[in-house]
Symmetry: C2
Subunit: 355 residues, 2 copies
């Protein structure tokens, strides 16, 4: 059979600042693949359907040469810390459909999710195929849901909330970046458990969205003082932190004894060199607080099966809502830049094949 | 029977700075008690033997009037947060011998430990008597051990180490204030588990003591850079924090993925108004660290029985060592000041009746 086009998004150049489309990332339509004869190496050939676009990708855009691929960290950290390779496609969580299989577990037509290359077609060989999860999708969700609410962002919220929040009905939780891909899932999980939910975000549109999905108190931190809100609506049993810095400091000052802080991110610190001086750090001792950092892969062994049993059904029933911003594959570089600049208004997904 | 002298150490005045003997605290020998006829209110009359002298006592030296005695915190926090009452004796952990009893659980001659008044004789009535623990002392330890290594300081180390360190043989632990009452117990617990132990303290005498009790690496942070030591001897699985500030920041920067930080105290922050700017706080997220604040009473339900089954025997066998600085009751005010100024070289105990 004649070679088929296999367009890809290539890591072309290490960026010094934001990743520029056409320079950092290049959409390359010149590559081809022989779908009938390409070696599967004991794995599968996939048609890629959708790919996730996440903030953490920027951390992988450095020069791999001379750097240990795992930085000495356990395997679960390799994904987040290991660099992309110059001249090769980017990779991230995605969904694909099996076109050919040499793996007994997977059949033609099955849908799978896992870490996939930014290509139209991709071979996942023997050594990686066990990392793919077969998606039954009895709930008939859009495949893109499986890289968002039913994928990594939902898993992050679900795993850590269940592992660390230890919340019960009536508890108070504060979620920063509550309109974000992960924060919006946390708000809804907390509401399902009967918590009082306080959410913060940086625009009135996002405040309206937090109210839509059930937040009891939602405020724009740019126009309303976080300190004032927590003084009025606290004290807190749980704080889900996406931002760090002064917001974390305010939360520390308004926790109850034995409160739990879940450290999902500290975006306020990513782009500043000035370390933040915490006034309330001593509260960790005097209020017996527990502060937990995590990555979702580190909690997967414990929570993955429960998540897939429960969460897609919650989404299908409308009890958990999500929103997404879809970009075509040819515009992946632009979409990546948009997420890095914080201009996306919802979870960004890159659509390689429309449903 | 004629009244018997019942000397006491009275909380006489709220201090503005350090607690001055004769002003903040007064040794009062004018008080008396009728040992035969004083009402026991369903409890016991105790001859006080020894009392503990701890840094946290300073936090109780404020004016009780108009302040909720528990500050709205759960009961386990009331001890640490509630104020002493002006004109009444101080109180803290101690050991006493039962002289008379109306409580079925306790008999004349029994020894008990619990929170006791700074008096020669004290009645513990019906509402408090259940808080006393009867000491079998099969190991024939000095009673003063039961306010130190076999008391609150040992319990603090034992409870939190077992609850949060999750350490296994060969793990690296760093203990700041490693020659202190609690830190020295942590070092020995960690050595019993086969950990590599790094300890820091502020004098060469304390460094020598840390080596005596088994620390693999012991250094004087005033003359050797903590950062340099951790770079050479780390990375760390566990950090036991007694000091906070720059030491905590260095530890954060040298933790392994999934490392545990145990927040026992932040003495560097107690006497400064300037909040510390943490350079490595983001490591909590990127290295999936867990940071645990605690007070020993909050962990007592889970660990107290095991502690008393195991720890006094470890002390008796010499596997756990301790040292103490003994002051007579009449010098309690001076001893309290000494601890507040950090001039004590070992766990301070106040001896009311010599063994």
């Amino acid at each position: 059979m004649a070679p088929t086009r296999n367009a890809a998004v290539i890591f072309n150049q290490v960026p010094t600042g934001y990743p520029e489309p056409g320079k950092t990332t290049v959409y390359d339509t010149t590559r081809t693949i022989d779908l009938d004869n390409v070696s599967l190496d004991g794995g599968v050939l996939l048609k890629i359907i959708v790919l996730s676009n996440d903030p953490y990708l920027r951390g992988k855009m450095y020069d791999a040469r001379g750097v240990s691929s795992t930085l000495g960290a356990p395997d679960v950290y390799a994904l987040y810390a290991s660099p992309f390779h110059l001249g090769e496609p980017l990779s991230n969580y995605g969904v694909g459909r099996v076109l050919r299989s040499e793996d007994a577990r997977l059949r033609v037509g099955d849908h799978v999710t896992g870490v996939l290359n930014f290509e139209e077609y991709a071979v996942v060989g023997r050594s990686s195929v066990s990392g793919l999860r077969k998606l039954e999708n009895k709930e008939n969700l859009s495949w893109s849901a499986y890289v968002g609410a039913a994928g990594m962002t939902g898993r992050t919220a679900y795993y850590a909330y269940h592992e660390y929040a230890k919340a019960k009905k009536g508890d108070n939780i504060f979620v920063s970046s509550g309109a974000g891909a992960v924060g919006s899932q946390v708000i809804q999980l907390a509401k399902l458990d009967g918590l009082k939910v306080i959410g913060s975000a940086g625009s009135d549109d996002k405040v309206a969205y937090m109210k839509d999905i059930g937040a009891d108190v939602a405020f724009n931190y740019k126009t309303t003082s976080t300190e004032d809100v927590l003084k009025k609506e606290g004290p807190l049993d749980v704080y889900w932190d996406n931002v760090g810095g002064s917001t974390l400091d305010s939360a520390l000052g308004h926790m109850k004894v034995n409160g739990r802080l879940l450290e999902c991110g500290m975006i306020s610190a990513y782009n500043t060199k000035e370390p933040y001086a915490f006034k309330n750090i001593m509260r960790i001792v005097s209020f017996s607080l527990s502060v937990h950092g995590f990555v979702e892969l580190g909690l997967a062994d414990k929570w993955e099966e429960e998540f897939y049993r429960e969460y897609p059904a919650l989404i299908a029933s409308g009890k958990i809502k999500y929103r997404e911003e879809r970009s075509p594959f040819s515009q992946a570089g632009e979409a990546i830049l948009r997420v890095q600049m914080g201009d996306n208004v919802a979870k960004s997904v890159i659509v390689v094949e429309e449903d």
